[in-house]
């Protein structure tokens, strides 16, 4: 009797769910998986802004779902499998460390399209997309080099992956170009999001005399500390102005919305193809926030000149002559770095002190 009852319940449930699925057939289900909370006001926040833009653009033709604060690794695989099972046809995986999880789940669901942010492994149903944040790093590196009085610039780095190393190199080269005495102090925190640790790192750097801080982590903690201690910093991923109205010089803003809308449309139209997108300031995927009044007019002008050059394509952050940290030649005079080298960058350029953690 009991088993009969449970079968009946099971059938009813299946019918009920089937009914829902049939009803929602016209809607494209899009899943987003985030490494931090949507309220981090940095990296994840910006991806979620992109998700909201998709909802706004397509109205009731799409249904988006997201899962936040998913650790990189086995959990990510479980979450994406769950999304695919519940009918998502397009899944955006928005952290580098989801790379292998994306590959594994994509193999199991060949009819689901996957988009992996900042990764480099594609597959017939996996695209990668990233922004040329190093272009933004060039701009803030330039500003930092001009603004520092102590010639010491602090850099809070997350994980030693090409994305982060590229940012450090680009910022350093730009700072060095306008300030030959500049020194970078780099602290690796091995987390994307941990406000307390990011704040502690900022304090440790300030203790060592840095007066400008850059970060490649997701929370506004470092900016808050900079504001409190009266030094400069930058907004990261989103504008972050309110966290440090005096400290923030400008910000590198991630603008995913146009890309997300474009990809959702491609899936709807059936034109989606696996690709590797890498857009920058020119395409609007990377934006620079407005300049702080703390910046003198000439710094504003020279920074704007760099932005214009990047937009026009006449300027590349990695233009030779550039040596590697060990003094060997990387780029000959006038030579520009190719994307493949940039994508896998695992070395510091000449002048940066310290070693990249292995």
């Amino acid at each position: 009797m009991k088993s009969l009852k449970s079968i009946a319940v099971g059938v009813a449930l299946a019918l009920g769910l089937g009914g829902v699925a049939a009803h929602a057939a016209e809607k494209l289900k899009v899943g987003f998986i985030y490494v931090g909370p949507v309220g981090d006001l940095g990296w994840t926040h910006q991806h979620d802004q992109g998700r909201k833009a998709v909802e706004k653009a397509f109205g009731d033709k799409v249904e988006t779902t997201y899962v936040e604060s998913v650790p990189e690794g086995a959990d990510a695989e479980r979450v994406m499998t769950q999304m695919a099972l519940s009918g998502a046809k397009l899944i955006f995986a928005t952290s580098f460390g989801y790379m292998d999880a994306v590959q594994n789940v994509a193999k199991k669901f060949p009819n689901v399209k996957f988009e992996h942010a900042t990764g480099y492994k594609t597959a017939p149903n996996v695209s990668t997309y990233s922004a040329r944040f190093y272009e933004g790093r060039m701009v803030i590196g330039h500003i930092a080099g001009k603004m520092t009085k102590t010639n010491k610039i602090g850099y809070i780095a997350s994980y030693p992956i090409p994305e982060v190393i590229r940012g450090i190199n680009a910022a350093y080269l730009a700072a060095k170009a306008v300030n030959p005495n500049v020194q970078f102090k780099i602290v690796w925190v091995f987390t994307w999001f941990d406000p307390a640790k990011e704040a502690d790192a900022a304090n440790a750097l300030i203790e060592q005399g840095v007066d400008v801080i850059m970060q490649h982590t997701d929370s506004p903690a470092a900016l808050t500390i900079a504001e409190k201690k009266g030094i400069y910093a930058f907004g990261q991923a989103s504008d972050m102005k309110k966290f440090g109205p005096n400290a923030r010089l400008t910000s590198i803003i991630d603008n995913w919305a146009p890309y997300y809308i474009q990809e959702v449309k491609a899936v709807m139209d059936g034109t989606w193809k696996s690709h590797a997108t890498w857009d920058g300031i020119k395409q609007g995927m990377v934006k620079i926030g407005d300049f702080s009044d703390k910046m003198p007019a000439d710094v504003k002008a020279s920074a704007q000149k760099i932005i214009d050059g990047l937009k026009a394509g006449t300027l590349h952050p990695f233009t030779g002559p550039i040596n590697k940290q060990d003094g060997s030649v990387w780029l000959k005079p006038g030579e520009v770095a190719d994307d493949a080298t940039l994508a896998g960058m695992n070395f510091y350029v000449e002048g940066i002190e310290g070693q990249i953690p292995k």
């Binding site: 931090g36 909370p37 949507v38 309220g39 981090d40 006001l41 604060s69 602090g154 030693p160 102090k185 780099i186 602290v187 690796w188 925190v189 091995f190 987390t191 999001f193 941990d194 406000p195 307390a196 640790k197 704040a199 502690d200 790192a201 304090n203 440790a204 750097l205 203790e207 060592q208 929370s219 506004p220 903690a221 808050t224 500390i225 504001e227 409190k228 972050m240 309110k242 966290f243 002190e353 310290g354 070693q355 953690p357 292995k358």
Partner: protein, 307 residues
């Protein structure tokens, strides 16, 4: 390049104490909870709830003290939800604790929506005339905000309470053998509820410290695992209050030290440096717990007066 003298020991000690305080507060609360025989895995959820309650209340009232009170009350109430569920409805403590963490994270994000990017009122620091000017000790030990001293007093009070007072003995009895404690007439459920509420208040205080002093800002999920470290600390400290202090300071200290070593540019593998806080804390506390102090015997077990 490697100039260790660039690290000021006084600044280091000051920073390590500040960094350790949230974990210490949460851990000393959880210690009392576990001593009473209850395992509350919701520390992370209670901390983050305390963080937003403390933050919101200090912003609204302009008083950091009222913020602290709100954080303690808010988290204690949250803890009592756990207490009622596990003690009256006899739900599974592990599952309920985990649910509490999830609830706390979501709930705090909801309340916190209007509080991002706001600056909380500054927290008063101890500043006894002349004392903070003493070389080394002034900066390292005598110029903290009040919560730091409060946390040490709290540990002392918990230690004294558990070791030398009658109610402390009763609480331990409830944790060691709830049936026996019940048989001789103690109200196991009520004692445990009080312990759970105390644990919640302490976790809330720890969370508030994070949002009001350590980072001064509100960000969703800003505890980022501190509650779990506090939980682990209680176990590795063998449920002894002063070892919790030691463990928290070692953990915070090595974390701070490794960040400072990096900032100075010391050439040792950073990956090991980042692991160091966890490893050093575990090793020290495991060696110290060689005296075979074990967990409270009734820890995590369901109690019902009829059994």
């Amino acid at each position: 390049m490697m100039d260790l003298s660039a690290i000021s020991p006084a600044a280091l000690v000051a920073a390590l104490i500040a960094a350790s305080t949230p974990i210490l507060l949460a851990a000393i609360g959880e210690l009392v909870v576990e001593k009473s025989g209850v395992l509350n895995l919701g520390v992370e959820g209670m901390m983050i709830t305390g963080a937003i309650f403390g933050f919101a209340a200090s912003v609204e009232t302009g008083s950091p003290w009222l913020g602290l009170v709100a954080a303690m009350i808010g988290s204690a109430i949250l803890a009592l939800i756990f207490g009622v569920l596990t003690q009256y409805f006899l739900t599974n403590q592990v599952a309920t604790g985990l649910a509490l963490t999830l609830f706390g994270l979501g709930f705090s994000a909801l309340i916190g929506q209007g509080y991002t990017g706001i600056k909380p009122p500054p927290f008063p620091r101890l500043d006894i005339a002349g004392l903070s000017g003493i070389p080394f000790f002034g900066r390292a030990l005598l110029s903290h905000d009040y919560i730091v001293y409060l946390s040490i007093l709290l540990v002392a009070a918990v230690w004294y309470f558990l070791k030398y007072t009658r109610p402390g003995l009763v609480l331990r009895a409830v944790g060691e053998n709830h049936d026996a404690a019940h048989a001789i007439g103690y109200n196991v459920t009520r004692i445990r509820l009080m312990a759970v509420a105390f644990g919640g208040a302490c976790a809330g205080l720890g969370g508030a410290y994070l949002a009001l002093v350590q980072v001064p800002q509100w960000t969703e999920g800003m505890t980022a695992g501190a509650g779990w470290i506090a939980l682990a600390l209680v176990v590795f400290a063998s449920w002894k209050p002063w070892r919790v202090v030691l463990g928290a300071y070692i953990f915070g200290g090595v974390s701070i030290l490794q960040l400072n070593l990096q900032a100075v540019g010391v050439n040792i593998p950073v990956a090991y440096l980042s692991m160091a806080p966890y490893i050093v804390t575990i090793i020290v506390l495991v060696i110290m717990s060689g005296d075979r102090t074990s967990a409270p015997a009734s820890l995590g077990r369901v109690f019902h007066a009829s059994s």
